[in-house]
Subunit: 363 residues, 4 copies
Amino acid sequence: MSSSFGLQVEMTIFGESHGPAIGVVLNNLPAGEPISEEGIAEQLARRAPGQDPTSTARKEPDVCRILSGMKNGVTTGAPLCAVIQNTDTRSGDYANIALCPRPSHADYAAHLRYKGCNDISGSGHFSGRLTAPLVIAGSICRQFLLRRGVHIGGHVLQIGGVQDEAFDPVSVSAEQLDQLAKTYFSTLSPHANRRMRSEIEAARMDMDSVGGLVELAAVGLPAGIGSPMFGGVENILAGALYGVPAVKGVSFGAGFAYGSMRGSAANDCYTLDEAGNIRTETNNCGGITGGITTGMPLLVQAALKPTPSIGKPQQTVNLDTMENTVLQIKGRHDPCIVPRALPALEAALAVGLMQLMAEGGKL
Amino acid sequence: MSSSFGLQVEMTIFGESHGPAIGVVLNNLPAGEPISEEGIAEQLARRAPGQDPTSTARKEPDVCRILSGMKNGVTTGAPLCAVIQNTDTRSGDYANIALCPRPSHADYAAHLRYKGCNDISGSGHFSGRLTAPLVIAGSICRQFLLRRGVHIGGHVLQIGGVQDEAFDPVSVSAEQLDQLAKTYFSTLSPHANRRMRSEIEAARMDMDSVGGLVELAAVGLPAGIGSPMFGGVENILAGALYGVPAVKGVSFGAGFAYGSMRGSAANDCYTLDEAGNIRTETNNCGGITGGITTGMPLLVQAALKPTPSIGKPQQTVNLDTMENTVLQIKGRHDPCIVPRALPALEAALAVGLMQLMAEGGKL
Amino acid sequence: MSSSFGLQVEMTIFGESHGPAIGVVLNNLPAGEPISEEGIAEQLARRAPGQDPTSTARKEPDVCRILSGMKNGVTTGAPLCAVIQNTDTRSGDYANIALCPRPSHADYAAHLRYKGCNDISGSGHFSGRLTAPLVIAGSICRQFLLRRGVHIGGHVLQIGGVQDEAFDPVSVSAEQLDQLAKTYFSTLSPHANRRMRSEIEAARMDMDSVGGLVELAAVGLPAGIGSPMFGGVENILAGALYGVPAVKGVSFGAGFAYGSMRGSAANDCYTLDEAGNIRTETNNCGGITGGITTGMPLLVQAALKPTPSIGKPQQTVNLDTMENTVLQIKGRHDPCIVPRALPALEAALAVGLMQLMAEGGKL
Amino acid sequence: MSSSFGLQVEMTIFGESHGPAIGVVLNNLPAGEPISEEGIAEQLARRAPGQDPTSTARKEPDVCRILSGMKNGVTTGAPLCAVIQNTDTRSGDYANIALCPRPSHADYAAHLRYKGCNDISGSGHFSGRLTAPLVIAGSICRQFLLRRGVHIGGHVLQIGGVQDEAFDPVSVSAEQLDQLAKTYFSTLSPHANRRMRSEIEAARMDMDSVGGLVELAAVGLPAGIGSPMFGGVENILAGALYGVPAVKGVSFGAGFAYGSMRGSAANDCYTLDEAGNIRTETNNCGGITGGITTGMPLLVQAALKPTPSIGKPQQTVNLDTMENTVLQIKGRHDPCIVPRALPALEAALAVGLMQLMAEGGKL
């Protein structure tokens, strides 16, 4: 299902960037659980545009209104629908894009898929704006998970040529994640953060954009959730994370570095900690073996391509005249989507983990 | 669902490594389509163990028997079930593993997940042996796809420190993929192949194992299949590929390299070819934008961890006495699973593409 | 999934009777198809309350607002969300019901299921009001189906002791169905209609309610859609029709009358019509054999229980004091839900057939 | 999906009547649960043909072999696959049916659906024989449910003109159901049983067949499982029961009799029993309100059409010559399928309840 995710806890996202509203339905949430609308607003604020020079100048109030599934501040058990009215839309900016697809954006593929009837304004349903309802859903799931001891957080691991430190895969802590999950453009190293901002500013000055990597973690997950083969933690989470536009790679633990490792170095040996609990000395597997959680921190990385909409002139084809042409994109676009994508990726992780917890009987 | 994949075309894999049989059910295949059992056998042979020193000494005949869904060589439209009887099983080898979980194998997580009742012999349902029914399903789907002009192939991109050349993302051809899809341990460069085999042999001599990367491609896919957000080509294919044990990373096109790229370099500009068809000059997006195919070659990479079962002594915990202990694994294990995993990954790709073609009304 | 239906075309209904809004998301609709909002309003009017003495005095404007998935009057292919704002709500009426569950209403079961947190006002998500978004979805699907030659209609077959004539299972026509589908409280016999209204009025005067039966038909369906066993037309349609509150029986063709029939009388013999097409002389099977359409008219009946909310005093238990008590329900309730349920059942049929058409590659 | 059922506990049935084998995969069963293969054999014996003059003379050993998912007599948590080898098949009997579809059988619809490639021998995947793997699955689920206090049983309620007594909807007991669930051709009244057998024998002597009704019950279900709208107990169970060939009607509690009832008579008033538990004085709703269990006995009825394969000559069309023709069916067919369908319907009920228990967190 295009814009749906999950079986036990099912999320459906709807809306187009410049349509009347965008929103999300969460089905099969447990009843009687408090939802903090302030908590939702806090997460929405992290992905809101216009907060600093690294992001687009668009202003979107992004007020989340819950239409159903909550009463007196707690879930009723009925499907929860939340919407955001769209306000600041300038559809005129998209007039030429309907004919001349932007390189590496969804325009051309969507044109074929939807027989030219997809809403092109603001990129329609393909807009990064659709991560706002995802953040709402993720924020709700995050609140459920926190009550069950599961903490989620992340940071920008790389922007262009600048790298942040990585999480310590064994000792990343709930406190550290909670702190990161409150901040816009989180990094572990303040120095890297400053250099990343310069990297983005440089791209912006060049009428260009730049890609990046994100690292996410979850601690407090019970051991023993997930399933082998196609129901594994990796399958479910990758299925959620690839739902965030621009993601082109997802890996767990040592990920692609496994390709050059020996088993003797890669294997995470079991040992007893002081409290007599089983832990692993290293955590290259990112807290997952055989598709099932080990109880160690869960670690996942995502790679995001540069924003395809750039100011530089680009070669494309006019779909009407079927001639090669040059496209110059105007309008307001993020020179780097990664800082704003971070809370969306955390949200996708939260929704994915919610699904896994439900499946594992842990909700 | 743990061992099921897909909605339109649904695959369910069953069996344990040392149980009576392993198999697969494929539901909702179109009726009236020929299936070549020889074609299935050819693909099973590519993943069979014991063919050269790089793989385990186990001998498995791996004869596929179709129990239903096929008559007179064509599909009937009813669910197709295929089984492989298990013959060469030495369950004694696994006696100590039930108590002392192997580092980075599924043993410990599965023990918790299944209350200690999972079949540990030969790793049970978590065994790489379960990729044999996946290869059957993939081989059937591959035959369906070939009739619709879709060619799938792949090669080992990296083993430890040795790298193969990568596919040319624009000009990888059907012929090249068909050739690769017939071979055991395919690489593009024969030189890299020799060095990879040495790398594996060195690991084996050290009672160790080694990981690697695989690159897969599909050409001939219609443009316009897939969907935004959670129904994207990336989501569906990652959900299939992570079903192959040991996969810890999946990326598309430029994948993690996107993290250090500028948009102006990363964007794939549209242009008309001589025949007047729209193509992209580069193909960093791996044939997918907005979760939808562009009609360019589809490119995907997977990272596999080293076989966790190694001969070297390793630290673990005895689950019965709850004491730290040292485990020495005997039995027959691949020093590198990557060459045998390659046809399983191609199979997962075929099953995933079959699902996407069905969804897109192209079956 | 509680309030979701379908795989290929997925419908999710949300909302509570006295909450801010109710609505529906339709996912995976084909792109580029016109939607008549007038057509939606026409169907909503058929289920609207307050149109005559047979229904409740509540006034609900029931204005359908489409938030996404439609632009310039045609579907975009993105999820379509439509909402109705709730306006006329008097939640005070439900104060005592939270403690004293109404006999045969969902109150008690829902209280257990949702730990007492379900919204009891206006019966919350269990309200017949939730059939309004179902009617929206059904009306949209009906428009898609009509363009493909499929006509849907129905009539009230029985109210209490009064029976309408039944459809002629062989010759029920598109024109007949189209006509019925425009009317409130459709029956085939005007005489039966008058007597049914009297039956309802008599129940109302007795502070009581009365049940009934509905018969639905669809003509123009292609032969050969549906599947054996659990994917059959009967399974899918029953799954949709039981989604309308108060439905307690669903049958196809001769239905329960089959129980007293001989095969020689029950079997529908094949014959060629004048145009050389295969038809059946009778149509006891209601247009379905082996779960698959035969191309003859599809016929289905549904049984609805009397409205549980009646004015007469009734025995119940106070959940707080855990004592037997007598409940007297105030508020506005339909003495017979059947006439207003008819368009909702037609809508459920339309959504079910849409799913079957999608599955069968006929959209 | 045609031959699959369920999400949490997923069942997929495969096989053709005269193919190599038929079988079933049950996915997501809890681990560590004993399975009695004797219990499976007992249920298979109830549906076996050839036990008395009321059923076909075919002999099928119907030996269930479990290929996976069970070790040392308990579930491993991996998908459980069970198969039955087909032995007594006489495919010659079906030569003319491929061309001349049997009235009211699936032949014609399946021919269109599967482009003439469906296996016609023994009716292929549409055969009543496919209820054998359903009985296996149901028997396994029944064993799981019994350990959780849920008892399932049923009886033949009607054959042609003969009716059995109905269950007492309030006081039907576990002991009564257990007793019925052990017997072939269960009825409540021995007298009705004798008359039903005569009715069937009379049909057989006339080279005809006869339809019937079945009533099923389950006691011991926890109150509060199920969901509103499309996830209701009725929706799920109807979806399962319509999977048994020949079922054309499914109703719950008072079912179609509700159509002529007043609310004051139909409503089930709540009261406290001696132990202080909430019960209803009547149980017209069949243990379900709002799609959710009330804790009272669950009651469901199914209507089955007469076996379509009868010895009498019948009108049909030759699909090759496209001429009207007369078909005389030879071969071995049940003059009444109802007694053998009873255990299959109980099995479908068990699988459906298993799904609902899983969803409700009661497994």
